[in-house]
């Protein structure tokens, strides 16, 4: 991992990887949306509203995955002092927040026709809303930090502590009586018919690749910022 401690070496790999992730992700997402909206069947009970599945599940997965990435990168930053870890953690925050927000929005639109309510304060929805607020808090903390953003330890600790919410979101539908249904995909298999499952898988992989591309773009932008600042300081000193 410390091979990539050198930003130049990282950038050499990141530049082509960004575009591979971006274009393959975009192609998969578009393909999955066409498949899901036009070709996949309607659900026996929900009818055509089931098609929100192909947006709702990937956004929920990435909203939670984004915070797991922040927490892991924060641990690497605190323990190993890896110079890129802090930059990676901060780069994942904004796309994570956007996906968590999209998950809440698409879930709300789905809830109205199926449950009969835009919003209910059950365990799953409330814990997901808390995740969204954690993202906002994290972003604010990083921006407010008087230390350079990528070395802020306060933000790293916040990132690790906030991760306790992830297993709570995951288990909320099992621990508590909720309006949201229990998980469909578990270690023992899936209760989603394969006619829905394949386009869903394509959509999840596609959105994940797009997420990766956005994180890489933001990391490269942050590294470029640092370079500009260093150069300006050198010019000012000369």
């Amino acid at each position: 991992m410390h091979r990539f401690a050198n930003p130049t070496r990282f950038l050499k790999l990141a530049r082509p990887l960004t575009w591979i992730c971006f274009w393959s992700g975009l192609a998969l997402v578009l393909g999955a949306c066409i498949w899901g909206l036009a070709a996949a069947p309607a659900d026996r009970l929900m009818g055509d509203t089931v098609r929100i599945l192909y947006i709702h599940v990937p956004t929920a997965w990435l909203g939670m995955g984004g915070w797991v990435a922040i927490a892991l990168a924060s641990i690497v930053q605190l323990v190993w002092r890896h110079p890129l870890a802090g930059i990676a953690a901060r780069a994942a925050a904004m796309p994570g927040a956007v996906f968590a927000g999209l998950c809440l929005l698409s879930g709300s639109i789905w809830g109205r026709p199926t449950w009969g309510a835009w919003w209910v304060w059950d365990g799953r929805l409330t814990s997901m809303l808390i995740l969204f607020f954690l993202y906002i808090g994290y972003i604010a903390l990083v921006n407010a930090s008087s230390e350079r953003g990528q070395t802020s330890r306060t933000a790293a600790i916040f990132g690790i502590v906030g991760a306790v919410n992830i297993p709570i979101i995951n288990r909320s539908v099992v621990w508590w009586e909720t309006v949201h249904q229990p998980p469909s995909i578990t270690l023992s298999g899936s209760s989603i018919d394969s006619a829905f499952l394949w386009p869903l898988l394509a959509s999840v992989i596609g959105f994940s690749l797009l997420f990766g591309a956005i994180v890489l773009m933001r990391m490269r932008a942050a590294l470029a910022d640092i370079r500009v600042e260093a150069r300006l300081q050198r010019l000012a000193a000369a």
């Binding site: 009818g47 599945l53 323990v79 209910v120 059950d122 709570i168």
Partner: protein, 149 residues
């Protein structure tokens, strides 16, 4: 011990303590964080009549009946251990069918009947295409019947 290992130990210890604290808190919240009572829990909880509560469970197959006024629906909610009769005045959600999940907001009356002001349909974790639905519909009802028995 190198400084790196010291920091690693510190992070691991902090993480274990944090997860332990959260698990304890969740355990404590267990009953408070539930969105609704299931019928057996409701009867055990001995909620006084008139107190606003939520009741959730499966709509007992064969129990849905429309009253003469055309807007009142009577049905029973079951969790396999107990059954609570419910009356609801208003339009029922699309997903409200026999054997499906339901969450009702309302209160118990003096006779033990749950008077609902609001009905939410609950979707289960199964996604089945419509083409298979007609065959499966019967299966769902018989499945929930066996569950209730």
């Amino acid at each position: 011990m190198k400084a790196k290992h010291q920091r690693l130990t510190l992070v691991v210890v902090a993480a274990v303590a944090l997860i332990g604290a959260v698990l304890l808190a969740m355990q404590g919240l267990r009953s408070q964080a539930a969105y609704f009572y299931q019928p057996a829990a409701l009867l055990k909880a001995d909620v006084p009549p008139g107190q606003p509560i939520r009741l959730g469970g499966l709509v007992l197959p064969g129990s849905i009946a429309k009253a003469a006024d055309g807007v009142t629906t009577r049905f029973s909610v079951s969790d396999g251990k107990a059954t609570v009769p419910v009356t609801y005045r208003g339009i029922v959600p699309d997903l409200f069918v026999e054997g499906s999940g339901v969450v009702a907001t309302g209160r118990l009356d003096a006779g033990g009947v749950f008077v609902a002001d609001n009905l939410l349909a609950k979707h289960d974790e199964n996604y089945v295409p419509r083409e298979l639905g007609n065959i499966d519909r019967e299966a769902v009802i018989s499945e929930s019947e066996t569950l209730i028995k």
